[in-house]
């Protein structure tokens, strides 16, 4: 008997993104399709230059659930390839990071170079046929490109270039990535396993100012300082705006204008931070113009489709590594500007760890929400009830002459979440990147 199709994937998100079937956050079949259609086709964050600065430096990470090795070869070039031996499938490298010229499989000693190609097979001439072609057992390569030192990979040769995929987001990233000296990540990442669907986190970071004053009330009351205005959802953030880009990325920004924008640093580091921002705004203005000087002095929360998120003002950089439809690992780095004094960088790392680390006084609140969002779907009846993201529906798409991409006011808005879900929907229902690109070109601003 043929299996009865349980649903049509295209029906699970309403075309405007405002209503979702809960099965997209729960169902194993949807998840397997996500691994194929979203994770195996998108540009995914792999590393940042300073994390693998020297020749031979490597780290191991995941693209979806595919294990990969990312390494800087002796030629200085960064490459990535599957961390699974082409002989019998074993994991090749079991360290999180290090420095190595070669990667040797523990099973039979096959040696792979920093390009993922065979550099030695023990006893090869004696035990393999003459026709055996080593090229056929090179490790599957990841297509690697980087933007301002941030290294991404995709398995899809037909995907647009990383710069095109970032689209308008690149212009916004430049606000801090193209500051003089650029941005860098401080690692290694902290990692925590949470029983939730990865998309809830990406959506939360892409545009959910709304939850901050409520979910995080305890922490904000304790260390909120300038964030106190948000406490208890008594007000929307002043002057906040939201952006949503063609390929599903987006963020909120609340500018500080005359003041240094709301942040969460404490004591001496808060003063150093404020001095840094004040001294930097004119430099950014000079280099990148008024709009990005405004955004430089703003708190941000954002996500890059599908599973990378960041905060500015807490300066966290996160990847939501899926581990099934109902589980993920949260990997967290700290993002700083390379030219900052070392003491300020350390202070920023400390603030990030204290607030959005594994024992972060805000992070725990989010984990608890996302587990609840996910796990209630174990109920069959509950699972039939749709979820809602209609906040600000119809108010998006403010055309702006100064900012590229769709823009919405006020910042309390779910336009970026809807745009994220529509990108997800497009990828899940498109056969290839030609179709994704064509559809997003017409659908993005609808």
């Amino acid at each position: 008997m043929n299996a009865i199709p349980k649903f049509n994937i295209g029906d699970l998100v309403r075309p405007d993104g405002g209503i979702q079937d809960r099965r997209i956050y729960w169902d194993e079949d949807v998840y397997q399709m996500e691994l194929e259609r979203v994770f195996a086709r998108s540009w995914l964050f792999l590393a940042q230059d300073s994390l693998i600065a020297e020749k031979g430096d490597f780290l191991t990470t995941f693209m979806g659930q595919d294990r990969v090795i990312v390494t800087r070869g002796q030629d200085g070039k960064v490459r990535a390839f599957l961390n699974s031996c082409s002989h019998r499938g074993n994991i090749i490298c079991r360290a999180d990071s290090g420095n190595a010229k070669n990667f040797v499989c523990n099973y039979h000693g096959w040696v792979f170079g920093s390009d993922g190609r065979i550099s030695d097979i023990p006893l090869k001439d004696e035990i393999y046929p003459k026709e055996f072609d080593e090229n056929n057992v090179a490790l599957k390569q990841v297509r690697v490109e980087s933007y301002r030192g941030f290294i991404f990979g995709t398995f899809d040769d037909n995907a647009p270039s990383l710069t095109d995929y970032l689209g308008e987001m690149a212009w916004y990233f430049d606000t801090f990535m193209d500051a003089p000296g650029g941005a860098e990540l401080l690692g290694p990442p902290t990692k925590v396993r949470i029983k939730a669907n990865w998309k809830f986190f990406a959506e939360n970071f892409i545009g959910d100012f709304y939850h901050a004053g409520w979910t995080h009330a305890a922490a904000i009351k304790t260390v909120g300082g300038p964030l106190m205005a948000l406490l208890g959802n008594q007000a929307t953030p002043q002057g906040a705006i939201q952006f949503a880009t063609k390929y599903g990325h987006g963020f909120n920004a609340a500018p500080g204008n005359e003041e240094v924008y709301p942040h969460i640093h404490q004591g001496h580091i808060a003063e150093m931070w404020e001095d840094w921002v004040r001294s930097r705004v004119p430099v950014i203005k000079d280099r990148l113009g008024d709009e990005r000087a405004l955004l430089y002095n703003a708190i941000w929360d954002g996500s890059m489709f599908p599973n990378t998120s960041f905060l500015r003002g807490i300066d966290t950089w996160k990847v939501w590594q899926p581990r099934g439809p109902r589980e993920l690992e949260v990997w967290t780095w700290t993002i700083v500007e390379r030219d900052m004094p070392e003491e300020l960088k350390r202070g920023i790392r400390h603030t990030n760890e204290k607030t959005f680390g594994v024992a972060g006084i805000l992070e725990g609140d989010d984990g608890e929400n996302m587990e609840g969002n996910t796990n209630t779907s174990e109920g069959w009846v509950t699972r039939q009830e749709p979820l809602n993201a209609e906040m600000g529906l119809g108010w998006e798409n403010l055309e702006s002459e100064t900012f590229p991409s769709m823009m919405s006011e006020p910042g309390d808005n779910e336009a970026a979440q809807r745009n994220f879900l529509r990108m997800w929907h497009t990828m899940m229902t498109s056969e290839n990147w030609d179709e994704i690109m064509a559809r997003r070109t017409t659908e993005h601003k609808k």
């Binding site: 360290a95 925590v192 009330a217 305890a218 304790t222 260390v223 400390h350």
Partner: protein
Amino acid sequence: MSGGASDIKPGSIVPLDLHYVIQSFLFKEARMLDEEQFRPWQATLTDDIHYWLPIRENRFRKDRRPEPTPENSSSVYNDDYTDIEHRIMRFETGLAWIEDPPARVRRVVSNIEAEYTDDDNELNVFSNIILYRNRRQDEEAWFVAARRDRLRMVDGQWKLARRHIVFDQHVVLDENLSVFL
């Protein structure tokens, strides 16, 4: 402390009576934390407390990079007295809903060793801890760690001046690590 500096060798173990005092300190500390008596617990910390739980990457044994420090690596906790004060204040706001209803938390402390140091007023204390956390209906977590503590005698009381936690998970396998170990 009993005995002058001259007849104490750094690294030598303390006598039984002092060991008993240190063991009682650690047991009481565990009980105070289990019972959420955060302010009395805080009173057992020195003003210059460093409470540190670094993450432990999987590195090859031959890896020659220096051991992680609070300055060059990532931490779960890297707290001073003010940071701990903030964690307690957060708890006391009445708004910390993830702690409400409260979790059931139990600490078991063992393998205690106390050694003299080159400072007459300070001891190095080693112990292991198993922390069981049970929250909501059925959420369970077991955390296992070693603690490398520095205890200091201040005004006739032992206080915790430094705690370096060697935590035995790389990926933290429960939703958060928001418990003092």
